[in-house]
Subunit: 137 residues, 6 copies
């Protein structure tokens, strides 16, 4: 039975402020520049969810991508789409909402719920010129 | 002398809330749905600035696109990039920051400053699935 | 009141065969080549629906793009998505399902239903390298 | 001698029906939904063929991408472009034409023919929102 | 008979130097900056060729896009692909190879050869952030 | 502390000629075809620089992408943008400027300068249909 990785791409948009409340305003401004704007800014994020597993003979699927989409929406996308990462998202409480921390937060919400197959990678695009990848390490 | 339209694409990202302060919360929620989120959301906007004019024999240009970029940045993009359209942008005061109103606001800032050639179109993409065009009417 | 054109992009995929039943097999093969494959082939189509009108003071919208999406889905996209243009689509009966005829067929379904504003353009991409535009003429 | 992975992207479009003939119509409809449409539907597929090997001093290439393109066309793309995966493609006989099974089928056709270097990955995009990867396992 | 605009997208890459030989080196450097590099630089150009006309009842086409592609390749793309606009292209002799002059040059080569239908627009992308349009004026 | 890979995408354009001076003109023409054009040709290159490391608690970053961009520009992009790979680029002297050799050359310039985190991958797109990857082996 061949083992294949399948990916579903999802889209959402959100506001955030890159800010560490433990630091002074000067340090925040120095570290984060315009991403520290007190009145927020935002992005159209792209999220690629990749699951790896054997191809099921009966369906020809690793897993049903429509089911994967539903899981990703219920556990992550619907809770962050058109939201503010600093104020509205319980699973981001206490961490700075950089792409790095967002992708780790989404992984923790999704990983236990995905089967058959195993979540092997998340890619999160913040702008057309930068993205992050997380594989659970 | 042939007449050509040249376009410079620019990128920025910003937060906004689609909200009409003259209406009740219920009306706002009914009209704007998740775009009315009180804690904002945001987008990676794409702006195409199109200028039309005769091709200059000496340069082969309608106008220097590096100069056009500078004008667009000074008059518009630097004032809205990593900002909040409801709170941070003087030229958007008193209007609901929909794409329609943003593109008209940018036109009014840019139009008087562009020459040689004439600003003939602005296109503003808010998400990969929707955009607006304005030609000054 | 400024007049703006707003566009909603929609996606669907479908099968078709470019074939004129009034012609012989040889003529069809000669005219349409591999697009005449008797067992069909298919595409991921992209449809851009553009509506032009004054910006409403109360909403900042020409029209609500969520409402435009619903109209476009009910009247066109849901009837052609994952379908066969030659066999499954009532509004394409009796015409060869080229992109030209598809875009005109979609226009006729959408145009009477769109308001406020006026449908001014449809763009239909068949592949990443070809698209057609129709403005109602 | 550095070892580099080189990729050639190819495009094709095809029709298919996601259907398991060993199951009832109800089970097929339940498992595959609109992808089970009896009259087919189709896609513009994108195929990325990745080959890894040392860089040849004489050419600066891992392998000539024009030669790789010819192999990929002769062994795979020309046999599936503008075709029906269920009816027209010998190497897909007896398997459900999901992206998972298509990518494995293409691998088996290409892998023995590619040299110098070694085929290390195929990526197949079915729509702009989903793709599969196969590395030969 | 509806009137539709159909577009074929083509790709080529080429080298050029934006340079006016009638001016001094200082003036060229001042006007054109890094685009004046004496040893050339280059681009992956994208060319969209748009033809407008009535839809032919017999074919469902305005014109056969495969034929349009052949005309565009013979008259323009094959003569500029992997070439130097300043040195290798007869129809660009005596003009500065800016996008503006290139698009006008291509128009003059293509316009007399395209029928049925009428060439109505060329769009030439030089980079992902700038493009020019010409409609024959 | 989770370990994440972050990527910054950069753009540049350049001219080159794929040519091995140790070989005859006939051999060069046979090996490299139109890419051997004596008067050069060029591309809009896309470069993805990927760095892997633990997420810093204080910043939420693996490393500051603005700093990564500066390093990539100073050490590579500014030295190749609007340049000729055969004539203008010291770190490419003595090698054929294929994408394979370019990506290895860029790696050698960047790798020692990047920290915190470790450079783990470079991807270089030469055209929309081919790219190369290097991981330092």
């Amino acid at each position: 039975m061949p083992v294949v990785t399948v990916t579903r791409r999802l889209h959402f948009n959100a506001a955030h402020r890159v800010h560490n409340p433990a630091l002074s305003d000067e340090e925040n401004e120095h570290l984060f520049g315009k991403c520290n704007n007190p009145n927020w800014h935002g992005h159209n994020y792209i999220l690629d969810v990749s699951v790896r597993g054997p191809v099921d003979d009966r369906t020809g699927y690793v897993l049903d991508l429509a089911a994967l989409k539903r899981i990703a929406e219920e556990r992550a996308v619907d809770r962050i789409d058109h939201k503010n990462f600093n104020l509205d998202v319980p699973f981001m409480r206490g961490v700075i909402p950089t792409s790095e921390n967002i992708v780790v937060g989404i992984w923790r919400e999704l990983e236990p719920a995905i089967r058959p197959g195993k979540l092997v990678k998340l890619v999160l695009w913040e702008t057309p010129n930068n993205y992050v990848e997380y594989t659970g390490e």
